[in-house]
Amino acid sequence: MRVCDLMDREVTVCHLDDTLDQVVRLMKSNQYRPVIVVDLSGEVWGVISRLALIRFFGEDLYEIRAEDVMRPYKFDVDPQWPIEKAIDLMQRTRYEHLTIIDPHAGPKRPIGILSSFNIVWFMSRIETGHYEQILKMPREWYPSCP
């Protein structure tokens, strides 16, 4: 399994100067996925997660820029990496979202994002059409609402 087999290919981007209000709206319209911050040439500078956003709950979102909130881009992750190598990087650095860049483009252009939930999918090893296995699990493990 390679990184490109698991990563989300739908990338949501904003610009360094965009306000947090714009970032929130982008995130809301893209299923609350992390937003990748790029410059005018499309090169990646950082990522804004949901946890980074909520620190500004109740504040004037028009006054805060994406660049001031993002976690800076640090690690080049090739889409052809084995998934275990990316997991090891996430474990060591405590990064929950890795931005995957196009290795063939000159500037670092984002082409995907690998998140901890993608790893949950990988570890569950569920194949399409095998949901019935889950339904056979002991009753106390399968959802109980108070």
């Binding site: 929130v24 609350y32 979102l61 999918w121 570890m123 609402c145």
Partner: protein, 131 residues
């Protein structure tokens, strides 16, 4: 007036037993497309929560022998319906967790009433446009 958790919480939760294996917990989360799973005991009392980050950290362990009880974050990160929303957000930020368990505010209340999801907080940060 100070906003309370009750305004944004969702009723119910995805749960598993403390003896469930990590693989089973990952399957429950994947099937429900949820980034958390609440761990309960046989009396349906909260023991803790497992996040996507917890599963990630467990990579490399034996997925079938390591149990939910081994990797859960303890229930000290629970809140009640009357917890101020700002306090709940501070707790999420401090513990780096995207879901908080809402329990009864009666003394000793350990049954899950619902969950506070980070998506619902983000949704309310720019409320004048439908998300």
């Amino acid at each position: 007036m100070e906003e309370k958790v009750v305004r944004l919480m969702r009723k119910g939760a995805i749960t598993c037993g403390e003896d469930a294996s990590i693989r089973q917990v990952a399957q429950i989360m994947a099937v429900h497309s949820e980034h958390y799973c609440v761990v309960i005991n046989h009396n349906h009392e909260v023991l803790g929560i497992i996040s996507a980050r917890s599963i990630l950290k467990a990579f490399g362990k034996d997925l079938d022998r390591t149990t939910a009880g081994d990797i859960l974050l303890p229930h000290t990160i629970t809140i009640t319906v009357n917890t101020p929303l700002k306090d709940a957000i501070r707790l999420m930020d401090k513990r780096k967790i995207e879901h908080l368990i809402v329990v009864s505010d009666r003394p000793g209340g350990k049954a899950v009433l619902g969950m506070l999801h980070i998506e619902d907080i983000v949704k309310n940060m720019a409320p004048n446009q439908e998300g």
